[in-house]
């Protein structure tokens, strides 16, 4: 079960408050799974109810979506490296990898906005049909989460630059890391359940 880790706990777990905050964040993530579960269920039930709007297979393009997926996967990876650098005690390492993560997150959001504008031009908007409402709410909720994550990381960067790696900043960065990886998990299911299945059916 446990790998070859040293006996001492990482810095972010060393205070009781840090440990409680991290456990609390896992509870929040469980609630987020339930939230996205309801959105996926709505999307699945409304699948195909496109009314007069274009069908998903006409609009979904594998190219853009694959690029978005790779960007988000890479950002999840760089965020993991940031946590790794944090545990090695390197302020510079954390900052560098977090900034790379942020840049990737921003490009993901830009591509998603571009994609939504493109769909709107083709006649698929939030109002055009039940299917597209479900689609935009599901993908949009994920996009809002990514945007919030970007704002959060900027604040963390400022704090880390001012205070260095302390039990408090390390706990905050670790929790941000959990959030960011979780968004990647949700995106994997959007990529598979929405885009790939939308192109197949």
């Amino acid at each position: 079960m446990s790998t070859e880790e040293s006996n001492a706990k990482p810095l972010e777990y060393q205070t009781e408050q840090g440990e409680m905050s991290i456990i609390g964040f896992w509870v929040f993530l469980a609630a987020e799974i339930a939230l996205f579960g309801t959105l996926f269920a709505t999307y699945a039930v409304l699948f195909g109810r496109t009314a007069d709007a274009p069908a998903p297979a006409e609009l979904f393009e594998p190219g853009t979506v694959l690029i978005m997926t790779f960007i988000l996967l890479t950002s999840s990876f760089t965020c993991g490296i940031a946590i790794h650098e944090m545990r090695r005690g390197s302020v510079k390492g954390v900052m560098t990898w977090l900034i790379i993560t942020l840049a990737l997150g921003l490009s993901f959001i830009s591509l998603e906005i571009y994609e939504f504008i493109h769909y709107a031009h083709e006649g698929a908007t939030l109002q055009s049909s039940a299917f597209w409402s479900a689609f935009f709410v599901l993908a949009g909720t994920h996009g809002v989460h990514v945007s919030l994550g970007i704002g959060w990381a900027i604040l963390l960067l400022i704090q880390t630059a001012q205070r260095g790696i302390t039990p408090i900043t390390s706990r905050k960065i670790f929790i941000f890391g959990l959030y960011w990886h979780f968004l990647d998990v949700v995106w994997i299911f959007i990529f598979t359940g929405v885009y790939l299945i939308g192109m197949v059916l």
Partner: protein
Amino acid sequence: MANQSKKIPYQHIIGFILSITLTLLAAWTAIRSNLPVMWIIIAILAMAVIQAAIQLFMFMHITERGAGNAPWNMMFHGAVVAVILVAGSLFTMSFGFSHDHGGGSHGQHQQEQHEQQHDN
């Protein structure tokens, strides 16, 4: 302070390579392969679950001792809730009914139509 003194995060690199490979494989299965639609859906969903597991175990340190059993508990029960929500909604709302409007509903009847279209 430096708890994990390993210089190169092998676990992250392996996880990253696996994720990219699985994404490409899933995209290929959906777009290029000639499998029946049902098999494609099962295969890509299975790959998504594996990728999610990679994120949880290799990136999010779900088995780390710091937070006790909470992470594992939360993710497992969250996943159960999500599966019940999606499968239950589809079961009650879509299966066994046939809708005249739109393609691609999840009923058996439409499924067959799609497979026929796929073959053409």
